[in-house]
Symmetry: C2
Subunit: 197 residues, 2 copies
């Protein structure tokens, strides 16, 4: 883990929006992400499952190799993910999911998901993997597991004049509330166990 | 995909070793990586399997948000991968592997692999995933699939005074030569099919 040496560099193209705190980076959606990472860590520590978040995809353009210190990436850009964020292994089964939170109290906006992620999810289902979304409604502090098979019709319908979000009641009907525990804050394997195995 | 706007920026801390070509980045091992990526693309296109390379893990420290253009990462560092580089799904089975090439003609140096990658591979095997190494001997232009279960004894023995590399003859004995085809240059699923399924 390499952190900056504490010196503030002055650059002419630095804008007001510069973030200088690594842990604070990309704050939106970090709560759910942190909870899932902790849960996955717990699963791994207790030898329950092997699930990891994939690194953020980045297009690296320029790298400096200073003498006597670590390589520094000086220019890079965020790339859109071509798959979901999480995958892994549970009892010999491949599992794959995307996690999103919303501030809406009434529905989950489909704009949170990208077409190529859905393409990926459809491939996973076709090849007999376990695939789902974890959707958290921040205000209610409730998280749901929505199986990909239940999600696809909502996704596809939006292109035939359907609504661009999934009502929370539909998520409750077709999905499963994910239990919370102190050790596994988003204990999604409990649902997997019931629904898929 | 965001590319630089073509202007050469001048920075004082730019060293002689600066790479400015995104496709050329991290050249070592790119041939095997490219061949595997192409193979995975072929598997995906033909609906044979869903396997992806994970993005390079990067610790992002500073991001600029210029007006009217994409966010630019201005300071970031390479992190060591905590898992293997590739995983995915084939006929409902979880598959997971690391790919390495060596210029040695006689053996594969264990220094190419990190302890936490081995820890990860052991977890995968324990949870009934399909786990292996792809090892290419560059000079002979031969690639082998070595099942993780065959690899572990060599890894563990190095800490009990054993050698720090695996002789090519042992790889030939315990592993499987991966066939080449024009469409699937590293057609590892052919081996998986024979060995695991």
């Amino acid at each position: 883990m390499h952190y900056p040496n504490g010196k503030k560099r002055m650059t002419t193209n630095q804008s007001k929006n510069t973030l200088n705190n690594p842990t604070n980076f990309g704050k939106r959606g970090m709560t759910l992400e942190n909870d899932i990472n902790e849960t996955n860590h717990y699963y791994l520590e207790w030898n329950i499952a092997v699930v990891h978040k994939k690194p953020t995809p980045v297009q690296i353009v320029q790298v400096d190799y200073p003498k006597r210190s670590a390589a520094v990436i000086r220019e890079a850009y965020f790339k859109q993910a071509s798959t979901t964020d999480y995958n892994g292994l549970y009892k010999g089964r491949y599992i794959d999911f995307e996690a999103k939170e919303t501030r809406s109290r009434t529905s989950f906006p489909l704009a949170n998901i990208h077409q190529h992620q859905v393409d990926h999810m459809k491939s996973v289902v076709e090849h007999n993997g376990i695939c789902f979304l974890i959707i958290r409604f921040e205000n209610q502090d409730e998280s749901f597991l929505l199986p990909a098979e239940q999600f696809f019709p909502y996704w596809d319908r939006q292109f035939q004049g359907g609504r661009k979000s999934i009502p929370i009641n539909d998520i409750k009907e077709h999905g499963f509330k994910i239990p919370f525990s102190l050790q596994a804050k988003v204990d999604y394997l409990k649902v997997i166990e019931q629904v898929y195995l």
